[in-house]
Symmetry: C2
Subunit: 101 residues, 2 copies
DNA sequence: GCAATACTTAGCGATATTGCTAAGTATATG
DNA sequence: CATATACTTAGCAATATCGCTAAGTATTGC
């Protein structure tokens, strides 16, 4: 039986979120933000790539609604908006561990 | 504090699995296989793209260990190897629903 | 063996992603 | 106002992804 238009839309929406998560740097950012808000310079220091690169990863996560930003002075702080993402990544831990055998 | 090499490896491994999941067609395949094994021609019919395209999505999922194949006659049947992926995608449902507001 | 069916692999063009550097914006500070 | 700091945006090159068509492989049936 053919995939319905509704199913297609649902999978597209899910894929969009998964795609946003599917990068090592962005997974690190999410885990770090789960411990509390961080400014871009802190994340940049931890990750070890140029700030513009980090900034672009952040805006990508922001675009799908996983994180939120707030400017204070010259700094921009990011916060995790969907703590459920952490629960979700917790599941993933078990899943991908079973693949590494 | 700088990201450790171990953390980097862990995120890379997780990202690899997420990347494999992050496509509408592959999400459909996974959901469909969660209901039972299917041959490539059945999936092709349901998805509505060319068979070589479906075949490539399938080998991608197979490469990360999410599905497994078995040839019977001229047909190749695929099975979901990590049912935990479904639980995982169940979590996702809640997550991405909250983004669609 | 020959043709048909079911699949996979290879190769192509279009498009997306990722990192970089350079340039732009905004806020604090002397 | 001028400079410095923190960040974002733009533009570029390298690479990956995705769909297609064409060609290859393997099994079935005559």
């Amino acid at each position: 039986m053919r995939m319905t238009a509704a199913a297609k839309a649902r999978f597209k929406s899910q894929a969009r979120v998964l795609k946003a998560l599917a990068h090592p740097t962005r997974l690190f950012i999410i885990e770090e933000l789960s411990r509390g808000e961080r400014c871009v310079c802190e994340l940049t220091e931890m990750i070890g790539v140029e700030m513009p690169t980090v900034s672009r990863h952040l805006s990508l996560l922001k675009n799908v609604g996983i994180i939120e930003d707030e400017k204070r002075g010259t700094q921009v702080f990011y916060r995790l908006m969907a703590p459920c993402v952490m629960k979700f990544l917790g599941c993933l831990g078990g899943v991908e561990a079973s693949f590494r055998k």
